[in-house]
């Protein structure tokens, strides 16, 4: 296994979510689930992060911030959309101010459904994202 899959540092951003999924993201870091077992660290800094976890359907005011966070991350990087709103816009999809899903703004690698998403599903999704991260790193080396 590559080092990158053993040390995924996450960055969590709330793109106008109802806060339900955000609580579940943080629940993963608590003693019950303790994702630091797998080397996951919540960095809060896009320049240090490997995985961007985004919740919510992205409203018009978030668009630039989401783009900027994505651009500030160092390659290789993956994005995981957390929860129904982040995947498709969810129940807010029809709202006048909602873009409807993270993939309307930046490319998404893993979709993790649920309202709110369960911590088990979240960990599962992050593991899936790690596979993509490994492939991306291989491609990055090939390009060099």
């Amino acid at each position: 296994m590559k080092a990158i899959t053993k040390s995924p540092w996450i960055m969590h951003y709330d793109a106008s979510s109802c806060n339900g999924c955000d609580i579940e993201v943080l629940a993963c870091l608590t003693p019950l689930y303790d994702v630091e077992r797998f080397g996951v660290i919540n960095t809060g800094n896009p320049k240090h992060a490997d995985i961007l976890l985004i919740t919510g359907g992205v409203n018009e005011q978030n668009v630039e911030i989401v783009k900027q966070l994505y651009e500030q991350m160092a390659e290789p990087k993956v994005v995981a959309a957390i929860g129904a709103c982040a995947c498709t816009g969810g129940i807010f999809a029809e709202c006048y101010n909602i873009r409807g899903g993270i993939d309307t703004v930046i490319p998404v690698d893993a979709y993790i459904p649920g309202c709110a998403v369960r911590p088990e599903a979240l960990i599962d999704g992050v593991v899936a994202a790690l596979g993509i991260l490994e492939v991306k790193q291989k491609n990055m080396k090939k390009r060099k």
Binding site: K2, A3, I4, K6, S7, W9, L29, P31, D34, E36, R37, F38, G39, I41, N42, T43, G44, N45, K47, H48, D50, Q72, A74, E75, P76, Q137, M140
Partner: protein, 288 residues
């Protein structure tokens, strides 16, 4: 001569391995204190290997350069102390390393990084007098700044310098960047300045910062070691045990205190330095 070169190479390779293992144990014990299982023992090494494989984003040309200069001085300090060299020179080399690190923080022009650099500067101001007093104290009782002479004395330095030892343990918290004095950047996620002075570093530059911190841990522990070790072989075992105990206390302090404001950090460090450091030297002057 060849032996010397081999010794230096061994120090350069083994010191970060030891430091990395200490960091791994630190993370596991911290996790257990918080009721978690914690990462694998080799997690810090995986982190660094991962960072080496990542892209290094730099905001300008000197930004990364300062980190490598800082790294070179950190290695020099480690080699000086562990090969039996001059500890006064090592202290100044360590300061130069900190200065380069701070300049790197300023060079990025990022507000978080700049405030982190300012706080790191304050931390250096807070701990530096005590480090120099410790070096002076060790010289005073051994008539030598060479670390190989200090660990070959007949009586452990701590017998003459108990107050300086306590003062040094106090400022060790700054050097190891542990709460309550992790103002400039923290290993933990809870940081009001994103990641403080290291905010703008990524990829290989960040990996170098991690490895630099491992060297720093070994240097800090080497200072503690010098207070205990004597010519008697058994004392080296005691020195290792004391180093372990001191580090465990640091982990406990890290997990049980919140970060303090810079004024309190600076004031308390200077009060400790003035009271414990000078008192010890004055008593030594009067009695010896």
């Amino acid at each position: 001569m060849e032996m010397m070169i081999l010794k230096i190479i061994a120090i350069i390779i083994l010191a970060p391995i030891l430091g990395g293992l200490i960091a791994g144990v630190d993370r596991i014990i911290s996790a257990r204190m918080q009721g978690r299982k914690g990462p694998r023992l080799l997690q810090p090494f995986y982190d660094v290997l991962k960072l080496l494989g990542k892209e290094s984003l730099r905001v300008n040309k000197v930004h990364g350069l300062y980190i490598y200069l800082s790294f070179i001085f950190m290695i020099l300090t480690t080699v000086l102390i562990l090969s039996g060299g001059d500890i006064l020179l090592a202290v100044f080399s360590l300061t130069l390393s900190s200065v380069m690190f701070i300049l790197g923080g300023y060079a990025s022009n990022s507000p978080y990084s700049t405030i982190g650099a300012e706080r790191e500067l304050l931390a250096v101001m807070a701990y530096e007098p005590m480090v120099i007093l410790a070096a002076i104290g060790l010289y005073y009782i051994n008539n030598s700044f060479l670390s190989k002479d200090i660990i070959n004395s007949s009586v452990p330095a701590i017998a003459y310098l108990p107050a300086i030892f306590l003062g040094f343990v106090y400022i060790l918290t700054f050097k190891l960047r542990k709460s309550p004095f992790d103002l400039s950047t923290s290993e933990h996620g809870h940081q009001e300045l994103v990641k403080g002075i290291t905010t703008e570093y990524s990829g290989k530059d960040l990996a170098v910062i991690q490895v630099m911190h491992w060297y720093e841990t070994v240097i800090a522990m080497a200072f503690v070691y010098m207070f205990i070790a004597t010519a008697a072989p058994i004392s080296h075992l005691y020195a290792v045990i004391v180093c372990i105990i001191i580090y465990l206390i640091e982990i406990l302090i890290d997990n049980s205190f919140s970060r303090v404001k810079w004024k309190l950090a600076l004031k308390s460090a200077w009060i400790v330095t003035i009271v414990l450091g000078t008192l010890n030297l004055v008593v030594l002057q009067l009695t010896m």
